[in-house]
Symmetry: C2
Subunit: 189 residues, 2 copies
Amino acid sequence: MARWQPHAPERLVVAALDLFEERGYESTTVIEIAERAGLTKSTFFRHFPDKREVLFGGDAMAGLLAGGIADAPATATPLEAVAHALDVVGREAFTAERREFSARRRVVIAANPELREREALKGLGLTAAMAEALEERGVPDPASRVAAQLGALVMALAYERWCGPAEETAFGEAVRQALHQVRAATAAS
Amino acid sequence: MARWQPHAPERLVVAALDLFEERGYESTTVIEIAERAGLTKSTFFRHFPDKREVLFGGDAMAGLLAGGIADAPATATPLEAVAHALDVVGREAFTAERREFSARRRVVIAANPELREREALKGLGLTAAMAEALEERGVPDPASRVAAQLGALVMALAYERWCGPAEETAFGEAVRQALHQVRAATAAS
């Protein structure tokens, strides 16, 4: 077995998504995912704790959001700081090349209750990370939680638009549209 | 064994909370909960699917919230309709007699990751139920989701205050204070 395994996590994620589409999430084993990626089961478990986690790799997104909030201009309101972070996410994670993969991933997750549950919990983790990053900017609780909740909704709406069927909108543009919608709805609440 | 088992769910919930406090959630079995309540394991499973569910009994809260939103005055804004539903919750579920139990339950849940996860998912279910009830009032998406998210935050803040240590605030009054806080934070976002 080759000891050098370039891009092992990416290969495992792609193999997993292919197999989940072909056979369904329930009917796919970790061994099959590793084999399809040309890797071993132990390599899989070096990168992911279990099969469910393979589509939710790590805490990169929480880090991007926290960093983007920290780097927002000092004059930004809490929700503007979140929007700044979502722009960073659009440039560094939800790029045009990533759209097709994200759309396929979204369909697989929607089809499985266990994956939907994991996604929901990951979303709560991201919301908490945003609230914490806002508090580090000096935004008090509960203003931090309000802005994080609204920001999570902006992110969800932008993501739905960005990787919806037949979409060509860049994530950053989808964020601007969603922010406008959420602000209008907030004002009418 | 007596066939008539009055208040079996309530007795099971009280027994479970006692045991979780005494021994910890992990170290308590379903059989022990049933025995403490003077009931059998099969009675337990008639009322709850598993040990984790015993502190999250059923969908009564989602029903209260949906009913309260449906019954709000036609002139109410979306968030006012949610606040109306939270008043119903304060009268019918989070009453003064319930406060001590809720405070103990909250401490037990906070101490266990599995229970925190279940509570987080239950919270998402309540938010979805509120959004759906708002849509049935004619509130379009995403305004429905915005109001439901803000309402969920009002509910969380009011609940924290209502069953916090040494509190005497009624749930309805805690809702009014939380609504004021969330509105102020929203305006500054």
